[in-house]
Assembly symmetry: C2
Homo-oligomer: 490 residues x 2
């Protein structure tokens, strides 16, 4: 092919490019595409870089670098003393037709489980404002201290904390074991503590190490939407178990199809706030032991209780080691920190350490070291204490604002813990419509019906987060909510 | 029961306790266990706190707090004006026997997939020292800059970066899209970039969104051990595909059982360093498109190449969008940072954003913001440049140290990129024995045979990481290695 034709051809390819790229990359891409399209056939001799550069009106070096790149990647070959040629290799793949047996096996797009996850997105794009549930007040966090500690452990001297890690940071495990012993009556050896990047990952780890594809998992209904999606994506068959006033209420029929995993929040059920009663706890532990179920106890916000003492953990009550305890730093520190922990029975320690390392590859020891020192220096407990009294005031404000405006229409439910209050309606109402209209007026109010898996069991309600709402914002936001609800009831 | 008997009973329970707990918790646990054991039957009246405290020789307040806790949790009941009684509820569970149908369904311990993961642990407890492969030199990282940026984004004013996040930090995606456009010839829209907590999580996300339980996944053999375990834990049937001098070499028979996922490292195969040839690239893309396979392109250390220009990415070559590109910050920043990214075809963007949020719950935007500014201010490129020349020197040192000592016995293989060099033996040798003995003498030398899934295909070799080894340490460590190998060859 004549050099002039090649220049014209390349000009056409250059014209077709839309992205604003550097010239060196543009000429590379034009040449490459021409070769791939066979517009420049194998064996074609390319013009010398000097003349091509002149014809295209660009610097010679630009063309030289494009040629070099194509050479390295095998699109062109250099014959000593004779210039550059389009290589045979570039056409290699095209000559072979794929084996016939392949026809008809094509399957597009997402996997079945991927489609389910994508279609059931329940985490909200909106994550801030009155009354977003489940989020703490970040403004009051002692960031100056946290910055100091983060900085301390991000240095070349602390290189051992900045590499891959096989297991979590030892001193943090010791701190947590002590903390759980005192606050949750849990006899815990530090080695039983597994540090994880957030609760979702923790649930996922349990699902994969303890259950196989197709195994049954129970979740509370209504319950935490996040757990459901994680369990489904791990291939488990998720069964919703209803609640009553004493908490999770599986029937004899439910137990007849025993679950491999039971995901529950006994201290303060999410979102109802129900505390699992003692007799139910004992029964749950006994039956789980009898049929060989593992219980995941999600203790997501028990640090933030408003009565004198927290409820004892299920883990601490269990003699037979069928309980895996899940705690998080999202509510006490800040959600973006993405640190949570599992406490596992001794028999499972080794498998969980290995599994955590193999499935997610460890790291982030510097953050864990900062957190350990944060706890050790007393900032953790001090922050919890400070937030408890701040949240208690906001909680009281919301309770009385709701009582004075909507006392006849709604009723608060649940425990004395957490960052949110669940209100149930005394009369039928479409809570998703209420939520949509409230959101349109700037107030987040998660409808209770959203938390149900069993659609027939749905009851209307509102899950209202108060923790991150300044006291003076609570009244006005409640006013908006009241107007929306009154409009619906008329 | 007489108060005196109750005191004696509790003393026995207290004596049995081994853990060094606070007195308040000890008396609580003793009472609770006595109730659970029915040593204190339902309806038993407990002694007044004052007298029990005297009998046990402890402060009254200690006993009061234990009683209060038991009351809150439902173990005891308070009858107004008449003291505390062991509640009926505490025995509630015990009276009911589990349904008969449950018998025989018990299954212990780990799941099948969990057992496989736990039994195939290949990540090493030892992560530092000559010649640990895959780790960068952390000492040379500009931590002062990184601390400043981390600090900047960890403050109450940046609260929006410290909450849960639905998607990654936008400006970081823009930075990465620009970076990939220039360095990897990839036309990328920022929205196609998905920020992930490390490569393992990225592989896991692909496996679950794109493949179902039982689907086939190809991995390179030898290949990256980490991918194998992640894919197995996602329920995929992993098929090892051998390599030849041109890289991944699937046969027509292999294609006849088409894979749903193909995990590969075309720019610099791990651990052999082989660059996938152009004809193989084209053929792989065509066949994958024809049978509907997704290709995961692991571009784990292409930033650290030692020739003038990096190899173009498979993603950039693909017209039909069957490639998902995987990049990591572990090698250029530091491994403990746990940040990686996927670049997905446009059609998959929404599903990947949702899936990432649902399965792992987003956060860590402050780190991502720090990283974006680190890139924007030019520190990222400057650091890569600095490390490239540092690593090039170490690489040359290792090459000549090995050549002079073991030039007749081993041969380096592979590309001009990466943090490690693969050496193959010219003669049969048990490389795992060599590795074990070298480790005993303080030198890490990962045996090549460890990276094979197909045991019959195993060839002996050593994967030697040089990047984190100071130049002056390379000679002495090579001496040790040489002595161990010579001992074996005799």
């Amino acid at each position: 092919m004549e050099a002039r034709l090649i220049t014209e051809l390349l000009e056409q390819y250059l014209d077709r490019q839309s992205a604003p790229l550097k010239l060196r990359i543009r000429i590379y891409l034009a040449l490459r595409q021409a070769i791939l399209d066979r517009a420049l056939a194998p064996g074609t001799k390319l013009p010398p870089t000097r003349s091509l550069a002149e014809d295209l009106g660009m610097g010679r070096n630009t063309v030289v670098r494009a040629y070099e790149q194509l050479l390295v990647e095998g699109y062109i070959e250099s014959r000593t003393g004779d210039g550059s040629y389009v290589s045979e290799a570039a056409q290699g793949g095209l000559r072979r037709s794929p084996p016939k047996r392949l026809l008809g096996t094509r399957r597009e797009g997402l996997s079945r489980r991927g489609s389910i996850v994508a279609a059931n997105a329940t985490s909200s794009v909106v994550q801030r404002g009155a009354f977003m549930p489940g989020v703490p007040d970040i403004d009051a966090f002692p960031f100056a201290i946290w910055r100091r500690l983060l900085g301390k452990y991000h240095s070349a001297e602390q290189g051992h904390l900045l590499n891959y890690a096989h297991t979590g940071y030892g001193p943090l495990k010791v701190m947590l074991a002590n903390y759980l012993r005192v606050t949750r009556m849990m006899p815990v050896d530090p080695k039983q503590v597994i540090i994880i990047n957030g609760s979702h990952q923790a649930i996922d780890l349990c699902a994969r190490l303890l259950a196989d594809h197709g195994d049954r998992a129970w979740i509370e209904d209504p319950g935490y939407w996040g757990a459901r999606n994680v369990l489904v994506a791990a291939g488990l068959q998720v069964t919703p178990i209803p609640l009553d006033a004493k908490g999770l209420a599986p029937t004899v029929e439910d137990w007849a199809l025993p679950p491999r995993l039971i995901f529950c929040s006994p201290s303060s059920q999410y979102p109802t706030g129900t505390v699992l009663s003692l007799d139910r706890r004992i029964q749950l532990l006994e039956n789980a032991d009898h049929v060989g179920s593992w219980i995941i106890e999600d203790d997501y916000d028990n640090e933030l209780h408003f009565h004198e003492r927290p409820i004892g953990s299920l883990f601490g009550l269990a003699n037979k080691q069928r309980v895996i305890y899940l705690g998080t730093f999202s509510k006490v520190m800040f959600p973006g920190i993405r640190l949570a922990y599992l406490v596992v029975p001794e028999d499972l320690v080794e498998a969980f350490v290995i599994g955590n390392s193999e499935l997610y590859r460890g790291g982030r020891l510097a953050e864990q070291a900062a957190l350990a020192e944060f706890i050790d220096e007393g900032h953790f407990t001090a922050h919890i204490k400070r937030m408890r009294s701040l949240y208690a005031e906001r909680r009281e404000t919301l309770l009385s604002a709701m009582q004075s405006r909507l006392g006849d229409v709604v009723m608060p439910s649940g425990s004395q813990a957490g960052l949110q209050l669940l209100y149930r309606f005394n009369q039928p109402i479409d809570d998703t419509m209420v939520a949509a209209q409230a959101l349109a007026e700037g107030v987040i109010c998660r409808p209770l019906s959203l938390y149900y898996l069993n659609q027939e069991a749905r009851q209307p309600g509102m899950n209202l987060g108060f923790a991150a709402v300044p006291v003076e914002r609570i009244g006005p936001a409640t006013d908006i909510l009241t107007r929306v609800i009154e409009r619906h009831l008329k």
